[in-house]
Amino acid sequence: MVDYVSSLSIDFSLIYPEITLLLGASLILLSVFSRQLGALAPGIGVVTLVLALGFTAAQWGDQKAGFAGMVTCDDFGTMFKGIFTVASFLTLLIAHRYMKVRGIDKPEFYALILVSTVGMMVMANSTDLIVMFLGLEIMSIPLYVMAGFNRRSLESNESAIKYFIMGAFASAFLLMGIAFIFGAAETTNLRRIAADFSYIAGHFGVYLYAGIALIVVGFGFKVAAVPFHSWVPDVYQGAPTPVTAFFSVAPKAAGFAAMLRIFVYGMAGADALTELFWILAVLTMSVGNILALRQDNVKRMLAYSSISHAGYIIIALVVGGSDAVSAAIFYLVAYTLFNLGAFAIVTHLECRSGCKSDLPELSGLAGTNPYLSVALGLFMFALAGFPPTVGFFAKFYLFAAAVKAGFVSLVVIAVLNSFVSVYYYLRVVKACFFDSPSAKPLTPIRMVPSILIVVIVTAVGTLGLGFFPQRLLELSQAAIFAFL
């Protein structure tokens, strides 16, 4: 089946999107030397991402392996590459205005986003644990810098240092896990591990499972699964808001891409994985939701909510199989849309001076900005999983996959969790629509086209895909094909 001759070949067409992004990032870095060129950085970023999306789309349907079997091109990876590109694109649009207002509009920022996206693509694309690790590091190091990008702000610095120390720790766990697996399997290539899995598990089970556990810790950190979540609230709150938006979707999706590839495709035969992920899923969604209940800061609330959403997606890892993978992909696409939409609005509001995104600052927003409030309400209802938004259909599809595989009790727990989540999402709606404006309202600001585009695109996507999920459903069902 596996064509090793061609897979040994160096086939650059496999990594056109990555190359494009790297070239774009280099161009931006070169432009740092001149103020006029520096102003072009966001434009270069946008063009690069559009090109990368084009190359990614062109890869759809291809099934190839190359670079000694370390990199593949399959629909699973391509779908994720699409998600990363779109998320980066939207983040870039959100960020531009915010960075200007805060006086931190440096060209490097856009280069960092692009490089980080390259890392995610490598993670989603590779079938080798070491290359995956490389991807993780390429993704994470720019993220550490981005978290601390507002270098005059104490919180931003705290955020960066916290994220870096915890992240480095998690990377070490991951690397240790890979080392254990290499010890057991004599290879880091997932394809070969999958082929000999029963033999490896039979003879070197201890090392294999120790390795698996350590890998779960490493990726659990990246996707913010409980109990590896403690960094999330502070990092999310301290980082510049567009960066937080990026954190909450893209690295999470990348982490899940890697986990799905390793555990659903590569090590589907492993025992106890189901139980392990079951506990992880229940803990993650419950703890995230319960802690979100009392948050009075919108960014912090969204941080905890992102933990709980990770919990729902872990259900796909519990269930395994193609239904669950396509449900997870659907969920991630939907979540990327409405979460970025919510963050776009929060970012817009934070462009006002002195705004910290505390809930009371939103009170009476419906009076001054009715359309913005309706959009924010829409995103909150989508996050809570109300129909007819895509948030509902994503949950439905995921839960259906789990019920089909017989995990009814897990679904009941998940459903009760989404019930709890309704309360804190509705608190935002309540502040906007029901509360009377605070005594000294913040000065209103003008909407800028870049953020408006994001809000419109995500809002239309959230509603439109809610009414007509068929196309996205077909895409995510096609994307289950992973070429190992």
Partner: protein, 529 residues
């Protein structure tokens, strides 16, 4: 045209809501006018449905079955029978009346209010038309959001608490319903190899008994919260009292019916064995609701909360009638759903009218209104009597049949429930007496203006309905009858088969159904000879 009429009735209000987006907020009267016209046209459309509806045919009419989300087998399947038909007409009539009644009382955020009302109408009509369980769920949830805003923005002093409580209570039920729904979907797949949420197809499937018990519980919880059945009723007084008049009317008039409608459309035909197994518990809870609701109503100082608690009692009657599981009881309870929508809706409208004048709803603040507001007092009298169930008014027809059905099913239930009628007379008439009769004790009441032509226009159709149903209910029963028969055939079939399999359903029903089955077998033998 025929198969497009239902989507038209459902989505016409939403199209109107989109139209309203174009009208600037300042032109409040234009907004009110557009929304009134839209809801009026919707009502006319629903009358057209009523006119074209074939009263004698059994099964679903005006069916429309369109692929929606093909890869998971979800269809846009609509269709109505007599039960849905009457509820749709009730919904569209009440929506028009509500928009009329909000003409003067809603002054801030007029645009948002009317958009919410119209979207709400779409959700409610959709629930009554949906024949695909997924679609049903979508409509069921969709109407939550506008109602949340109606209570939360235009409500009374404790509106935020009431709005959130309303949403959370409804959500917990409907989320468990979602799990049950997904479970049935795969159960159907494992039996037939097809993925479908189609209610009619699923109805033909035999769900295993043990699964039925769980599934019934999940669906019944969602519906019982909506009805609300006794211990799940605590959201109702808050939501009804805090909601603006239009919100209360829609809540009492239509939203509560969605719960009982869910029982008769989904729970009973899909899980007949479980219906029989749970029957005693639900009957007892209904009776508790009847008595409890009535007793609590009696001690209310606020007219609106009195009406709210009386809803608990009346809906208890409806539930008891449904679970009497005989033609009289079920027909009566479907009729009573309509009656309660009309009478209680009217009571909330009347309370809203005096609230607009006096800005209080306390019974003690009134007295002697008969002298200052004679027209109001007459309308109030008629509606009060219909709510009590006086002969010749609509309430009598429904309650009488329900009690008849209850007596047939179980004499004790019948006797205890009948006492609820007496209690209803006590609290309603006592309230009426304190508000309307006697001397004008409060000086502020002396200058109250009587009903305006607009308000009379709102109340006249209600009075017409009260007497029409009370005196000549035949056209309505004609349309309900085939639908009710369909449901009961399904349940009686289950009684027979449960006796055959010897399953341990409630013992009393086994005994009863064994008798029936012997009769049937005897008949079969004679027929063969």
């Amino acid at each position: 045209m025929e198969h497009l009429i239902l989507p038209l009735v459902i989505f016409f209000p939403s199209i109107g809501a989109l139209l309203l987006l174009l009208v600037p907020e300042r032109q409040a009267d234009t907004i009110r006018g557009v929304s009134l016209i839209v809801s009026f046209v919707t009502m006319l459309l629903s009358f057209a449905v009523y006119y074209w509806f074939d009263p004698v045919a059994s099964g679903m009419q005006f069916e429309l079955n369109q692929l929606w989300i093909a890869s998971v087998g979800i269809n846009f399947h609509l269709g109505i029978d007599g039960i849905s038909l009457l509820l749709i007409v009730l919904t569209t009539i009440l929506t028009v009346l509500c928009i009329l009644s909000s003409w003067r009382s809603v002054t801030k955020g007029v645009k948002g209010f009317h958009i919410s009302m119209l979207v709400l109408a779409t959700g409610m009509i959709g629930v009554f038309c949906a024949l695909d369980l997924f679609l049903f769920y979508i409509f069921w949830e969709v109407m939550l959001i506008p109602m949340y805003f109606i209570i939360g923005i235009w409500g009374g002093p404790r509106k935020i608490y009431a709005a959130i409580k309303f949403v959370l209570f409804t959500m917990i039920g409907s989320l468990l319903m979602l799990v049950a729904l997904i479970y049935i979907y795969f159960e159907f797949h494992s039996l037939t190899g097809e993925y479908s949420f189609d209610l009619l197809q699923i109805m033909s499937m035999q769900v295993p008994y043990q699964a039925q018990l769980w599934l019934f519980a999940a669906f019944a919880l969602a519906f019982a919260i909506k009805v609300p059945l006794f211990p799940f009723h605590t959201w109702l007084p808050d939501a009804h009292v805090e909601a603006p008049t239009a919100g209360s009317v829609i809540l009492a008039g239509v939203l509560l019916k969605m719960g009982t409608y869910g029982f008769i459309r989904i729970c009973m035909p899909l899980f007949p064995e479980a219906t029989i197994a749970y029957l005693p518990y639900i009957c007892i809870l209904s009776i508790i609701a009847i008595i409890y609701g009535a007793l609590v109503s009696m001690v209310q100082k606020d007219i609106k909360s009195l009406v709210a608690f009386s809803s608990v009692s009346h809906m208890g009657f409806v539930m008891l009638g449904l679970f009497a599981l005989n033609q009289n009881g079920v027909e009566g309870s479907v009729m009573q759903m309509i009656n309660h929508g009309v009478s209680t809706g009217a009571l909330f409208l009347l309370v809203g009218m005096i609230y607009e004048r006096r800005h209080t709803r306390m019974i003690a603040d009134f007295g002697g209104l008969a002298k200052v507001m004679p027209a109001f007092s007459v309308f109030f009298m008629i509606v009060t009597l219909s709510s009590i169930g006086l002969p010749l008014t609509n309430g009598f027809v429904g309650e009488f049949l329900i009690l008849l059905g209850a007596f047939k099913a179980n004499v004790v239930y019948g006797i205890v429930a009948a006492s609820g009628v007496i209690l209803a007379a006590c609290y309603m008439l006592w309230m009426y007496q304190r508000v309307v009769f006697g001397k004008v004790t409060n000086a502020q009441n002396e200058k109250l203006s009587d009903l305006s032509p607009r308000e009379k226009l709102i109340l006249v159709p209600i009075v017409v309905l009260i007497f029409w149903i009370g005196i000549y209910p035949k056209p309505f029963f004609e349309r309900i009858e085939p639908a009710v028969k369909d449901v009961l055939t399904k349940i009686n079939g289950a009684r027979l088969s449960s006796a055959d399999d010897g399953q341990d359903a409630a013992q009393m029903f086994i005994d009863e159904s064994k008798e029936i089955s012997t009769v049937v077998i005897d008949e079969g033998v004679t027929a063969d000879e």
